[in-house]
Amino acid sequence: MMSAETRDIIGLLAGIAPGSSLEAIRERRSQARENAQKSYLALFEPTDFETFGATERHAAAAFVAGVHGEPEVANFYLAGLAKSVDGPALVEALKAEIERGKTSGPYGAFPPGPLSVEDKIGLIYRVAEARKATLGARLAAALEHAHLLVFRPRDATAADLQVLLDAGWLADHRHRHLVAARCVSGVSGPRGRRLACARCLACARQIPRLRPAKERTDHG
């Protein structure tokens, strides 16, 4: 894999050339830039993966990027999977699930009341039964939750967290959602009349940040 320590992930995925005017604009928000990179490193290259392994992290990120219709970003995360023993089968399963999960958002229901007229119905995504063996119950639950967050975040309930707990994710430390890469876009050079980089990676926005249960007795 690339060395993320030396290469800015948003710059890489968005195709922002070092030394470009867009890069100079990003420098004006250097804290935002540095800390977006730190978020990426904390999520994908942590000093301790604990029980949320690299494979699951990359699988979830690839799925999120994929259902956003960002195949290049999805492939970046899929590349991190392919090398493992079960990698090729997992990559195939994820690609198939990405196709099944594609839709348009946001949709979902508001609390019953005056906003109900704005309720929008859409896909309630569930992993195909045939692929659950390859993905595993825990990752399947994570993908379903990720889809909920990407497309219909206003539908989320406490019960959805219970589903994750039941699938073996711990609530104790890592109940967060992550941004793989936030949003990058930009505008072009000195003449400044063309969009140089509409590669807005708000796409790889959120994936579940839950940790699989291993030592649940520690947390009773």
Partner: protein
């Protein structure tokens, strides 16, 4: 720590967008203040954030919270140059209105009003939705935020051109993008980890 969800009674759930102050109730257990270590305090960045159940929940992952908080502050509070604060808040409010985060929209519509003194226009965004006519410049910011909130992302050349016609330079446009993008993260955290309540102080 208790590895279970917290069931809230939802008696005081707001059913409409508002600029009024709301509370937020977590569905997972926040860390008790007494259990915060130095690493947690560093993750919170501002010690006052320990009073918030939301941040004491997120601080279970202090590395990511610290990076997230510093990103947040640079995007919204670094007003040394770039987009006026009011319009960054407008982008956050429009994003929250689109995703349906009543809590986030309440906070950032209030901030938009404070910094713009255009309370009625902000209220129209909440009441009528993101199609409300708020004048060319605000319309451009709202439309760009909505396009960035769509999945797949609908933001493109036409948004850039509209923002430029409204007088935004490239750096200001990047501030719009950052503000809307950051709230696509924040909305998902607040919508999926807890719920709003009209009971302030919750």
């Amino acid at each position: 720590m208790d590895d279970s969800i917290v069931i809230q009674t939802s008696e005081n759930q707001p059913v409409a967008f508002t600029q009024d102050e709301l509370g937020w109730l977590p569905w997972l257990h926040p860390l008790p203040e007494a259990e915060l270590t130095e690493r947690h305090w560093a993750g919170l960045v501002d010690r006052s954030r320990s009073k918030s159940a939301y941040f004491r929940l997120l601080v279970r992952d202090p590395e990511v919270l610290e990076a997230r908080t510093k990103t947040d502050k640079d995007i919204f509070y670094n007003t040394a140059n770039g987009l006026p604060r009011a319009e960054r808040e407008l982008a956050a409010a429009a994003t929250s209105r689109t995703n349906g985060c009543i809590y986030c929209a309440s906070v950032h519509s209030r901030f938009a009003t404070v910094h713009s003194r255009r309370s009625e226009d902000v209220q129209r965004l909440l009441d009528e939705g993101v199609g409300a006519d708020l004048g060319a410049r605000w319309n451009a910011v709202v439309r760009a935020s909505v396009a960035l909130t769509a999945t797949p992302i609908a933001f493109g050349q036409q948004n850039i051109e509209e923002l430029r016609r409204a007088g935004l330079d490239d750096a200001e446009i990047v501030d719009v993008i950052d503000s809307a993008a950051f709230f696509n993260w924040a909305n998902r955290l607040m919508l999926s980890l807890g719920e709003p309540t009209t009971k302030v102080g919750a």
